[in-house]
């Protein structure tokens, strides 16, 4: 079980797509920094992210910082830094995509 982090916007580069290609169903993917743009509703990548096999979460402070709390896709849950730390504990390792 792997926790993947992605910190790049899918609108800017392929990092999120690469991560999804390598991630397994049992993994979790946490969108941080500019990665949070991948979690918006009604965007070009929304359908892809909403239907992705691994569970997808978003780091709330990065979302809030960017003024996007009202644009978050309804199917995606958020965590704060406490939740981020807990995820690193409950998964076997962390793989960072940047």
């Amino acid at each position: 079980m792997i926790l993947h982090t992605v910190n790049k916007s899918p609108y800017a580069d392929q990092t999120l797509l690469s991560c999804l290609r390598a991630a397994s169903e049992k993994d979790t993917l946490l969108l941080i920094e500019d990665g949070v743009y991948g979690a918006l509703k009604g965007g070009e990548y929304s359908a892809l992210v909403e239907s992705a096999a691994p569970r997808i979460l978003v780091l709330a402070p990065d979302l809030e910082a960017r003024g996007l709390l009202d644009k978050l896709s309804t199917t995606i849950a958020t965590v704060d830094y406490a939740g981020f730390v807990e995820l690193t504990v409950t998964h076997d390792k962390v793989v960072s995509w940047f």
């Binding site: 792997i2 690469s18 290609r21 390598a22 991630a23 397994s24 995509w97």
Partner: protein, 117 residues
């Protein structure tokens, strides 16, 4: 002993990530079993016929040939990364194993530590 997987995802020269990933591989090889995976634009690092001297950057592509001396024998390249970029194994300077996305997922699972660059 923990095994390490080092993933190199950036093209050469555009950033120094590729060179610094290779440094990390060589260093890791002294301590732990290490595998190296070329993924995404990382595959361009081992494209044949590089000549970075002409842009006055040190050409580090010859260094890949030293990996064997450093006991780095598990060297993988993503098949889909090659294919998306119109490259084949024949374009590469290194003898590598071309692997599927499923094998990549398996590598991520089976190595204790994954470092990406």
């Amino acid at each position: 002993m923990k095994s390490f997987l080092i993933i190199t995802r950036r093209s050469p020269y555009g950033t120094s990530y590729g060179k610094e990933a290779l440094d990390a591989v060589l260093m890791a090889s002294a301590f732990v079993p290490v595998s190296l995976l070329f993924l995404d634009d990382g595959v361009f690092q081992i494209k044949q016929h590089q000549d970075a001297d002409c842009i006055e950057i040190k050409d580090y592509s010859p260094t890949f040939a030293v990996l064997e001396q450093y006991d780095v024998k598990n060297i993988y390249v993503s098949a889909s990364s090659l294919q998306h970029r119109g490259l084949t194994e024949k374009d590469l300077v290194l003898d590598v194993e071309v692997i599927s996305d499923a094998r990549i997922a398996n590598l991520l699972d089976t190595n204790a530590v994954v470092l990406s660059f």
